[in-house]
Amino acid sequence: MNTKVTIAGVEFKNPVMSASGTFGSGMEYASLVDLNKLGAVVTKGVSNIPWEGNPTPRVAEVYGGMLNAIGLQNPGVDVFIERDLSFLSKYDTNVIVNVCGKSVEDYIEAVERLNDTNADMFEINVSCPNVKEGAIAFGQKADALFNITDKIKKVSKKPIIMKLSPNVTDITEMAKAAEAAGSDAISLINTITGMKIDIERRKFVLANKTGGMSGPAIKPVAVRMVYQCANAVKIPIIGMGGIMTGEDAVEFLMAGATAVAVGAANFINPSAMIDVIDGIDNYMRKHNVSDINEIIACV
């Protein structure tokens, strides 16, 4: 039974990886999850310099999911390379580094410093809350997305994955812009902007007022967008949004994803990724699927 998939020339032992920001750099979960079993570890967003992130409360629970407004706190790319990437180099799993920035230059600086590390790929998070361009993030305008993709692609020594925001009218426009600018793959979805109000205290639950929604509640939106993008672009897709089980993962694969990422589920069940990997195996066995690539985009 083959569970290997290939994205932009990089081979993954199975299509299951962590969703950026929900698994640290693997270190925090290493006592609970055997990292060697994962298709890849996708690390928390890292920027050229350290970021403080947002004030607390940063997380809130919602029906079937959660909101987060971490604000991309990170120790900066130098510490990250030294500490987190060297930690990950000890494991037999791919490493995808998620990169964030406030301007095109920030991204480029981070990517350049990561170019000669053990990272296998870069995932570019273009849904940062505060960016130079003003209120609309790079991830919400096709031309801005094209531009930043193009610039990063030119400096990157590793394949890049543009990570798309679901908070758009037409996700396929964004996918096409990323593809046209040379992105090697796309990943989706990032969180959906939501809000929760504490009616007892008449206050927003999150200090940031709004936060990104994730968890099983968002899965139908994610599956829809993966399907739409799979029909709009030829580059591979890493699908995510609410995956809790192997069945959920299979749904994304069938919708057209070549691999999947597991996010909030890690919080709800620390062995979620292992369960997803086992669940996919069980599905394949039960349905006599000898190669996982058979079910990708089969619907």
Partner: protein, 260 residues
């Protein structure tokens, strides 16, 4: 002393020890490794409330391999837990956080302070310090002084109540100020933020070492999501910014290090 796992806890007993406050004993693997001031994440079964609820370990019974959680019904998750019955199972992520540095304070004059639902973790701390010179200051709203009797087994006990119906009228610091013979070298405390702020200030003014246990909304409980941070005075070793993770570097902090 490092144990980290998703435990299938088995309920030994549950009792409502005060209005809306429940005392739950569960048997689980991590119990024997748990330190005073650590906490666990309790997962609700309800599929609409998915995140674990951080609850302090009130005390453990190493012989029975069990731990006690004392919690107030605050919302959906704790409401669900309150209906757990003997032999039910409950999924918990154990053990989380650093706990109080009980080994470092031995031989000193130790003051424990607990306010409201911050009292439970101080009981296990008192137990761990049994035999030492320990003074427990417990602050309540009124004369419903849940758990206070149990502190008597391990320490001297001083009560404060907001309405003055029992002990000193006021908070735990008022009670400490009232007991002029107690000269703490170190304070360990858990309770509402205004109480912790006052203790931080008091300790700094009086040159007392203070360890305070903080709370914040959590998602992962293991340091991965960066949801639960607290501002720090200096750059934090892990984050390299002025934020530290309550679930990992805490929940117990040297009061001088956090900016609350």
């Amino acid at each position: 002393m490092f144990y980290r796992n998703v435990d299938e806890g088995k309920v030994i007993s549950q009792e409502e020890i005060s209005d809306g406050i429940f005392s739950l004993w569960i048997k689980n693997e991590g119990a024997n490794e748990a330190g005073a001031g650590q906490f666990v994440g309790v997962y609700p079964k309800d599929k609409s409330t998915l995140l674990m609820r951080p609850i302090s370990i009130c005390e453990t019974d190493k012989e029975a391999g069990s731990m006690r959680l004392v919690y107030r019904v605050a919302g959906k998750g704790t409401k669900e837990f309150s209906s757990l019955k003997k032999d039910d199972t409950v999924k918990i992520l154990a053990n989380l956080g650093n706990g109080f540095p009980v080994d470092e304070v031995k031989g000193k004059c130790i003051v424990l302070m607990g306010g409201g639902i911050g009292i439970p973790p101080m009981l296990g701390t008192a137990k761990a310090l049994f035999g030492e010179d320990v003074h427990s200051y417990l602050g309540y709203r009124n004369n419903d002084t849940f758990l206070s009797d149990e502190f008597l087994k391990y320490s001297k006990v001083y009560l404060a109540s907001e309405d003055g119906s029992v002990g000193v009228k006021g908070n735990v610091l008022d009670a400490l100020r009232a007991s002029i013979n107690v000269k703490p070298d170190v304070i360990m405390a858990c309770g509402p933020m205004p109480m912790l702020r006052a203790i931080k200030k008091y300790a700094e003014e009086n040159n007392i070492k203070a360890y305070i246990s903080l709370e914040e909304r959590m998602a992962c409980g293991v340091g991965a999501c960066l949801g639960c941070v607290c501002k720090t005075v200096k750059k934090d070793d892990h984050s390299h910014v002025n934020n530290t993770r309550i679930c990992t570097e805490g929940p117990v902090f040297d009061a001088t290090e956090v900016d609350i």
